[in-house]
Symmetry: D2
């Protein structure tokens, strides 16, 4: 059983939850997804995140999905989103997925937290609730959760809660935050943690320059994310940026709150990674215009990256 550690690097794609058009879970596509993630060099995978439509799943479904991902993940760590309004539900899901072999869990802050003490206190209580032996990912996403964590608050959590192994960094703007956190490590005031970046990858090019360890996001070309991280890590930074910039118009388009998930699933369906682009209800349908725009973005991208020729 792989445990998530603070040395994690590379790309942990955020997996969408595949559904059939009628709302049933599409288990065949789960296998296809995870096989693809492995093939393109992902070093982990995160399931049941915000864009995994977790709130639309009943508890038993969540557990079944996590188990299927874990079973087929061939040893790379699987992180499971367990954010919940109460610690009871969080603990219950954590217990089951950890028993099934999850590497750790991801916890987003409830959007009522305001003061530094409230935020730190919440993560202490959460870590106690799920068990001090369960590694967790701290999700820092103020745009969606309205919770703003100063770098010093991240440091307090890291230092006061030993089971915090990774930061899913999606503050915006967050480049200086990464620099500050890595500075804390250098000056000895914070132990090292893994920093993987979200925000749809919109700033991945410079997040890597600032010291991030990779990506933890669901962009519809996870293989591109793996390439960019690989190229950057091997010193081929210009190539990394050229590839990244070619994808940026689509990354930006997919990063729209609301319609973003529909775009992501649509492209992944066109790529053969999902049998259907369906979201479970309630879901906003993608307009025809949006679809045409995505098709155009793919055509334009295909001039630079053949994988977009669909």
């Amino acid at each position: 059983m792989t445990r998530l550690t603070s040395d994690a690097k590379g790309v942990f794609p955020i997996a969408p939850t595949p559904f059939h058009d009628d709302g049933r879970i599409d288990t065949a596509s789960i296998d296809k997804l995870i096989d693809f993630y492995l093939a393109c060099g992902s070093t982990g995978v995160t399931v049941l995140g915000q864009l995994g439509e977790a709130p639309k799943l009943e508890h038993t479904e969540s557990v079944a999905i996590a188990k299927q991902f874990i079973a087929r993940a061939a040893g790379i760590p699987v992180v499971v989103g367990v954010s919940a309004p109460g610690f009871a539900a969080m603990r219950a899901l954590t217990r089951e997925v950890m028993d099934a072999g999850a590497a750790g869990v991801m916890i987003a802050p409830p959007n009522t937290l305001r003061t530094d003490d409230q935020i730190v206190g919440y993560y202490k209580q959460a870590a106690e609730a799920i068990g001090a032996d369960v590694p967790f990912v701290l999700q820092d996403y103020p745009l969606t959760f309205s919770v703003q964590m100063a770098p010093s608050v991240v440091r307090r959590i890291v230092m006061e809660v030993p089971s915090c192994a990774m930061l899913k960094h999606e503050d915006w703007p967050g480049l200086e935050k990464i620099s500050t956190l890595r500075g804390y490590e250098r000056d000895g005031s914070m132990r090292h943690i893994s920093i993987l970046c979200g925000n749809g990858g919109l700033f991945l090019d410079y997040e890597m320059e600032r010291g991030a360890d990779g990506a933890n996001t669901g962009y519809c070309f996870p293989d591109m994310l793996c390439d960019v991280v690989r190229l950057h890590s091997s010193g081929r930074k210009d190539e990394a940026k050229d590839l990244f910039d070619a994808h940026l118009p689509l990354i930006r388009y997919e990063q729209q709150p609301g319609v973003g998930l529909a775009v992501r699933k649509y492209v992944m369906m066109k790529r053969g990674l999902l049998a259907s682009a369906a979201q479970r209800k309630p879901a906003a349908p993608m307009s025809t215009t949006t679809q045409q725009e995505v098709d155009q973005l793919l055509r334009r991208l295909a001039r630079h990256d053949k994988r977009a020729q669909l």
Copy 2:
């Protein structure tokens, strides 16, 4: 099986969830509580609300508690709070408690809703998710949920979602809102619904004057709430106000966010309604000073209401 209807009147106390000091559910106190509610003239009861520590309960515990309340409620309607971040969990809990004989459910809005359309859309989807045959209580509590519903939005929900049976009114200030809603009924633009009032009862005296049907709150003297509603309804309004005013210093004290639940459980323990004042973790302990202040408030109240002589 009693179903909640839009003609509900009187007092539906919000029941706290009784715990032993070690965090186990105190089933004996559940029986004691419901017997007390019946004895003092409650016309219904609401369980697993915001102050019922619902988020600290695992799913099976929630179901068990609801079932015990229902079994002993002797025919008065039991409403169960089912608010959840996703419709899957909401539907699952609703299904089980309705099968067990609940009269209806209560649904609070997620605090991310902003526009009128978002709020109406949410309740339409929720009603569809739990089943159009399940009566529900619309909880309007902007102070806690940050969701502001204009009277016209309440009207849209009432008119577009037939299973909306009751408004738990706790907007603040809300007196004009009650008047506006009752005006909609008079001018024929909205069907009649039951309006029971929350906010710890802080405005109950004038809410009754404005046309509310009673109270739906957890103040530690539910018997006083029953008396006030009874006196008011039988035309003895000055007596109702005299009794209410005597309790107001304590009502106000208990209405403090955060410490309020501790105060409520402490007084209910002193009254013999709960074996312990314990909250399940995480819970802020009540300070000694707070306890002394509550004791003093009770002593002062006892000069007017013997029930406070504890």
Copy 3:
């Protein structure tokens, strides 16, 4: 020229801004108001606060009003609200009113502040902008401003910004906060500051017990606030509470956001302190029902306090 100091005690009423029915400033009522405040024992006065309709005043009007209050205040300190979205406007108003003899200014936090560092940083910048020699009141009112200051944040401001002389305490619940702050003073980690309480006076009875120095609010019976603080300070606590409790139904009614100011001005007009209850536009008119309810509250109050016989 009186300067506000951290030893301030007693009652600083929040003065409403008197208008004629046509929206012009009613200068005669300003004199009447300040004479009344002096006569009933106020130890200071605060003008142009949230409920002083400051945002409806042009700069020159604000300055004129402040000057008139200062000129007639006979030596008691006049604090002027200078909260503004930018430091330029804040500095400009501060400069003029301090030149005219104001004792200090009051600064509310912009509602976009979230983290501890943001809040402390804001007050440092504000103090620098208005000048380090200008004493200011820190307004802590999360219900209205959505800014939550932990006690440790108040301490940081007090310790890092020497010109912070007073806390206008209106956190809710805030009793423990007062105890914590006074505890900081006792353990030597924070210098002493004056704490006067707002929130319409709703918790004044127990705020005094916790160590507050008095009230800083606009309740329509400032003379009662003065009596309560005087009785409490001279050890006649039961008398203080009896008087306070008699007023609580009206205090609570006036403390409704939105309609509260209309209620306050209406009662002050009935008391002869204002020539008109008019608010400058835009203003929500008070309904006939509200007026009748206030009249009833006054009649009921008059049984205990003759001053309410109007």
Copy 4:
């Protein structure tokens, strides 16, 4: 005197306010800026917006800056941001700048507005306060102001407030919103208004496709914005997109809240449009790393657009 009309098209750059290093207003750069805007084909200009550091200006400074822009604008309309916490300040500034020849004003919603009625009511009151004859721009920017306007709310404002001439569209995601609003015009339920887009230009390519009339944003290459709108409008859409995509990495980088303005001013200084990149205090300095990243982004951009060779 040019008045803003609902037929406005093209690019209205949001002008930064130029400062010397010591915080004084740099009037020479104001002339340089406006000359540049005219030379590159801007059809209007907006001054004293959010990123014009308006809150750091005293009233007389704001008026002086607006007057200078207007005097040199050679007949293209100048829109002045007049957002303020109160209508008095808004009216005062509007009066002065309209007298000086401004074409209209821009009004952002206060971030306390929630319900549809509150938003519509606010704009009705604002329009009445500034005068029904003053054309205004409705700023719809939920990311910054936390105010969410459904398309139906925009329609209500347009239909109920005749002086609303333009929408500064910066909802995100907002493509469907533009389509919906243009659909309202086609089905006759809303009169035509001008829609210019903000958000740093991040979605300008597809906003034009959806029916926007152009851009109203402060990106450091306003000449590129003019080119893109011109190319798009003349049917050369692929060229427009090629140029836009080349700028996207920098657009995205500049669109970071907080540091964005520093980046913008830095590039404009390098381009010779500003004598200094200084912001008036309080301002966060740009880190050396940020500066190096911007330099790199410019070098990479220069491969496609010579104007970035600085």
